[in-house]
């Protein structure tokens, strides 16, 4: 038995009804990279679909050993939704080579794991796979949308006594995953570290709006009207950054990126049921000209009052830049000579 197995930090990563994008995102982890991070934590990767050598019969043996209790399972990560269809059979994903539905494997292994981690909004809540009429009857580990009626259900607790950790996001930021695993491996994961939807508060206590480079446009309600415009995307373009729980604009993606920095709306991908907004993703639904979804914690009357006030006060610079794809007017400067 290896050192890490003795210390109880072995991790099994399974994929089901998803796209594998959370793993691909994880491979973009930096300072340090994902394998170095796992090393630093003393986490022994029992198996990961993209990283491990083990395939076929060797993997089946490994799973059987875990099932028989011969290898302790400390952390089980599931990426992708649980597929319950058709008609509750789980046949939409039979785990290759085993003749058993993945749904059944996940159920069995979850009961044995000290910690169960849903990686991505699919595994957490059903996610994109549950969109439309939910053809595969997809759900999350503990949740089905915003309700705790997923595969494992409300009463489920992992061996540690903790409910499922929902690292929601589509995809997850690599550091949301590594930092949560760090806390778990260090024995510093408590129920107080999760919000009401099971998400790590380390990122879910923030809003995407925080650090958005379009904040000044937001303040003056200088709005973008079409793709590539520089203005705030809340009023017309469907941006949910003021309501979305995540730290995308203070943490940044792939070096210097985020959805807003890339010029497109936040679609609130860390929330249950983000996949069915009830309107086109790139349009803001309005009633009497006022966006339906207001910024988090903001009383409606105040928002309306402030919005009309700030609209009246919008500087020319912001008004013009908001509907341009490059800065037309730069900020005033007392050092500038001439007009």
């Amino acid at each position: 038995m290896t050192e890490s197995l003795k210390r109880g930090r072995n991790l099994l990563w399974l994929q089901s009804g998803g796209c594998g994008g959370c793993s691909m995102s994880l491979l973009c982890a930096e300072s340090p990279d994902v394998l170095t991070t796992l090393d630093a934590l003393g986490i022994h990767l029992l198996w990961h679909p993209s990283l491990s050598e083990t395939s076929g019969a060797d993997l089946r043996d490994l799973l059987e050993q875990i099932e028989a209790g011969e290898i302790p399972l400390d952390i089980l990560c599931l990426e992708g939704s649980v597929l319950r269809g058709p008609n509750g059979t789980g046949k939409f994903h039979m785990m290759a080579g085993t003749g058993r539905p993945m749904m059944e494997w996940v159920n069995t292994l979850s009961a044995l794991a000290k910690h169960v981690v849903a990686v991505g909004s699919c595994a957490a809540y059903g996610g994109i796979t549950a969109a439309g009429g939910n053809p595969s009857d997809a759900c999350g580990l503990q949740y089905d949308g915003a309700e705790k009626t997923g595969l494992l259900g409300e009463e489920f607790r992992a061996r540690s006594g903790m409910p499922v950790v929902n690292i929601a996001g589509c995809p997850t930021h690599p550091n949301w995953v590594t930092e949560t695993l760090m806390q778990i491996a260090a024995g510093q994961w408590t129920e107080q570290d999760m919000d009401e939807l099971g998400r790590p508060r380390s990122y879910a206590d923030h809003l995407v709006h925080h650090g958005c480079p379009r904040n000044e446009y937001y303040e003056f309600k200088a709005s973008a009207e079409k793709p590539s415009d520089l203005g705030c995307m809340m009023e017309h373009m469907g941006c949910l950054g003021t309501q979305a729980h995540a730290d995308c604009n203070t943490r940044l993606w792939n070096g210097q990126g985020s959805c807003q920095r890339g010029g497109y709306a936040c679609i609130n991908c860390t929330a249950p049921e983000f996949e069915e907004p009830g309107h086109a993703f790139n349009e803001t639904p309005k009633i009497a000209g006022i966006p339906v979804g207001l910024p988090t914690d903001m009383p409606k009357a105040w928002f309306v009052a402030l919005a009309s006030l700030s609209k009246a006060a919008t500087p020319k610079r912001l008004k013009e830049n908001a509907v341009a794809d490059h800065i037309r007017i730069s900020p005033a400067s007392r050092f500038r000579k001439g007009p």
């Binding site: 009804g17 796209c19 594998g20 994008g21 959370c22 793993s23 691909m24 995102s25 491979l27 973009c28 990279d33 394998l35 990961h48 679909p49 993209s50 990283l51 491990s52 050598e53 083990t54 395939s55 076929g56 597929l83 059979t89 046949k91 939409f92 994903h93 039979m94 785990m95 290759a96 080579g97 085993t98 994109i128 969109a131 439309g132 053809p135 595969s136 997809a138 995809p171 079409k226 793709p227 590539s228 520089l230 993606w253 792939n254 070096g255 210097q256 990126g257 959805c259 807003q260 920095r261 890339g262 010029g263 497109y264 709306a265 679609i267 086109a280 993703f281 790139n282 794809d325 490059h326």
Partner: protein, 483 residues
């Protein structure tokens, strides 16, 4: 005879099962099973057409941008909108970033670790290959992950994030480019080129691209020790294990063409058959459902008319994958197909000598890394600060359109019909749907099913290593295959 079952297959981006009939140490017949169905085509039905830009990239976490590019092209076809030159260059850079990163991921993380398996412990090259390519612990992966992550900073600059960006739109990109971004992209590419030239090739990209025949390639490799670079290491192992005799395909290759440059794609669209290129006619594509767990199986349909309704109990079904055929033929797609169609002299020589096989598929992929990175340097120069990156036109209430591109692993097409402003039908054919298709109504096996025939099986092998090399040589993406 009972079938030998290999699975779960990993390092194939998704789940995969292969069933084999083995006699006298050889695979006689193979059945490829795609075991996961999610139903994106059903999900898209009735949606606002623009929502395709949110849903389709999420078909796949490794070909996410390719899916965006195909969806944007299909919607643009409906709208009749063209991208401004800046938008086109930015989309090419974003797509190339994903495709090259995918080639790298395939080579280092998915494909090469199989040569560090115990089964090869007696080979002279084993210690060095294991030290370099062993899954998780090899020293290559420690070098490749940071290089890949830094290369993908281009996504942060041009696409906001990867995977699942909304920066690519039918009329261009949402992210305009300033001079500082152009400069930064140039420096990211310079750093990535340095990694490729030192670790992967051990020579300049230009020298690699100048190789124009198999003899030339041999002469080039012979001037170095066998472990001079990762490309040299692969060529050495390929020759020791005769990987050019493994996994021979149908030798009909298709490419949708990719990276439009003001009307002319960098890699041409076409069909390679019987040692020559002809035009590819997308109207001749049909999807055969005779061996899929699908209903409505009568008459293979063109994707515009395609129906995707699952039926787990469909007679003779053994996979969720459909069987696309071009004019009734099985075709192979991927980097080898792209480069033979486009006319890369070394790849043409390889294919003329011995067609599709494990070695040739990998060589084509590595050459393409060099070719595309050089093209990325050019596109960076074409980004013009101050010029528009996106044209915006309204979506018609009724329209039909198709979008065809190339993902790292081959040809990807989206076909949609819009009625009353909503998606009436949306059908997708992904690269691995072509390569890993099941038998059709005529009983003709798909490309991988054909390539596996004759694969050697060693005594006592449960998961024949040759089968693993062949399967992974296609760089399959199972989450795209059935979406």
């Amino acid at each position: 005879m009972s079938r030998h079952i290999v699975g779960p297959f990993n390092r194939v981006e998704g789940d995969l099962e292969v069933q084999l009939e083995i006699t006298a140490g050889q695979v006689r017949e193979a059945w490829v099973v795609s075991p996961l169905y999610r139903g994106f085509e059903e999900i898209l039905h009735g949606k606002d057409p623009s929502d395709a830009m949110v849903y389709t990239p999420r078909i796949c976490g490794i070909c996410s941008v390719s899916q965006s590019v195909a969806a944007a092209a299909a919607l643009a076809d409906c709208q009749g909108v063209m991208m401004p030159p800046n938008g086109e260059a930015a989309v090419n850079l974003i797509l190339a970033n994903e495709n090259v990163a995918d080639h790298l991921t395939h080579f280092y993380l998915f494909f090469m670790p199989d040569f560090a398996r115990e089964v090869y412990a007696a080979e002279s090259w084993y210690p060095k290959i294991t030290e370099r390519f062993k899954a998780i612990s090899g020293d290559a992966v420690k070098q490749v992950l940071p290089a890949r992550a830094e290369f993908m900073h281009l996504m942060g600059l041009l696409a906001g994030k990867w995977p699942h960006s909304l920066a690519i739109q039918p009329g261009g990109t949402t992210r305009s480019v300033e001079i500082q971004e152009r400069m930064r992209i140039g420096s990211i590419l310079f750093s990535f080129r340095r990694f490729l030239e030192s670790a992967l090739f051990g020579d300049s990209l230009e020298n690699i691209l100048a190789l124009d025949s198999l003899d030339d390639l041999h002469t080039w490799a012979a001037q170095y020790p066998w472990d001079h670079s990762d490309f040299c290491r692969f060529l050495h192992v390929a020759s020791a294990l005769k990987l050019d005799e493994l996994g021979k395909g149908s030798n009909t290759f298709m490419s949708n063409g990719v990276y439009p440059c003001q009307g002319e794609p960098l890699f041409k669209r076409g069909l390679w058959e019987g040692n020559s290129v002809s035009a590819l006619d997308p109207d001749k594509i049909r999807e055969d459902l005779s061996h899929s767990w699908m209903s409505h199986r009568k008459d293979p349909k063109h994707p515009y008319e395609g129906i995707t309704i699952p039926d787990a109990d469909a007679q003779d079904g053994y996979t969720w994958c459909k069987a696309p055929r071009l004019d009734g033929q099985v075709v192979e797609v991927g980097a080898l197909a792209r480069q033979v169609v486009n006319g890369h002299p070394l790849v043409r020589d390889l294919v003329r000598l011995n067609g599709g096989n494990v070695r040739n598929r990998v060589i084509a992929r590595l050459l393409e890394i060099a070719r595309v990175v050089v093209a990325m340097e050019d596109w960076t120069q074409e980004l013009t600060p101050g010029e528009p990156c996106c044209n915006n036109v309204p979506m018609p209430e009724e329209a039909m359109g198709c979008g065809m591109t190339e993902a790292a692993r081959g040809s990807l097409g989206h076909w949609l019909k819009i009625k009353n402003g909503r998606i009436l039908n949306y059908q997708i054919i992904s690269p691995t749907t072509w390569n890993f298709s099941p038998r059709d109504a005529q009983g003709t096996p798909g490309a991988l099913e054909q390539a596996l025939i004759g694969a050697p099986v060693r005594k006592g092998e449960k998961d024949p290593v040759a089968v693993q090399h062949i399967v992974r040589s296609f760089d399959p993406c199972m989450v795209c295959t059935v979406h």
